[in-house]
């Protein structure tokens, strides 16, 4: 599971903005705009079990675009959606030995975090990440 999340993070970062898995590390001053990739069940990515090579699984996750203005958060989330699910709803991630699909589920919310200074604007999408063992014939 961790490999797939790392691949998602790396892919998002090709947009030139930092992406964090789960949370912004403590004592880190986050950039003005960034992505947060979180598990919808609230678990921390570091706590995910290591999956066996033969297992297939689905994981609900959320991508937050965080910015200084609503326009920034919305625009950067749209950029991520265009990159990650270019077919409108479905996209693929490259992970060795796995077939990984990212499915856009819905746009969830736009809101303001007033507990930080300056206030941060958040735009949030929900996705389903599916991973299955790759077909050995297709791998070779």
């Amino acid at each position: 599971m961790r490999d797939e999340l790392d691949a998602l993070k790396a892919r998002a970062e090709t947009l030139g903005r930092e992406a964090f898995l789960g949370s912004v590390p403590q004592r880190t001053t986050p950039p003005a705009a960034y992505y947060l990739i979180e598990l919808a069940n609230g678990a921390r990515p570091d706590d995910l079990p290591l999956s066996e090579a033969t297992s297939a699984w689905d994981l609900a996750l959320r991508i937050k675009s965080v910015g200084l203005t609503f326009e920034q958060a919305l625009t950067f989330l749209a950029d991520a959606r265009d990159l990650l699910v270019p077919l409108g709803r479905v996209g693929q991630l490259a992970v060795a030995g796995r077939g990984v699909t990212l499915l856009f589920v819905r746009h969830e919310a736009d809101y303001v975090d007033r507990d930080v200074s300056p206030h941060k604007h958040i735009s949030l999408d929900t996705f389903t990440l599916s991973s299955v063992p790759a077909d050995p014939d297709e791998e070779s």
Partner: protein
């Protein structure tokens, strides 16, 4: 407002729109009753949170689309601090984590069987 995955119910309600006027007239009542139930559970869950109970009053619903759609969730407009607080309760803040109140989809899923049965009963009553 936050949204939930109610595509099957919405599709079913849409199908009913093509039915007889007698059926069409009864659907908005079912949708509204469902919205009231979902909102009630969401308010209870938010009110049960020590940190976010103040945001419970921001949860509301709008009936749209001639009564065939209900949009339920915290109202979050500029200056509506409780609404933003409620969304943070569901989805967490800008540093990650913090989403400690159950996802609204749980409230919808809890009421979905009742709504589906009510809509099916309407259809059954005219067949």
């Amino acid at each position: 407002m936050a949204s939930v995955d109610d595509r099957e119910i919405r599709a079913f309600a849409r199908d009913l729109r093509g039915a007889s006027q007698r059926v069409v007239d009864q659907v908005p009542g079912v949708i509204k009753k469902g919205a009231v139930e979902v909102k009630k559970q969401m308010v209870e869950e938010m009110g049960g949170s020590r940190s976010f109970k103040g945001a419970a009053r921001s949860i509301s619903f709008d009936i749209l689309d001639g009564g065939f759609t209900a949009e339920i969730g915290p109202v979050s407009e500029p200056g509506e601090v409780p609404g933003d607080l409620a969304v943070i309760a569901y989805f967490g803040g800008s540093s990650g984590g913090g989403g400690t109140v159950p996802d609204p989809v749980g409230a919808l899923n809890a009421d979905a069987p009742r709504m589906e049965k009510a809509l099916a009963d309407i259809l059954g009553g005219v067949l």
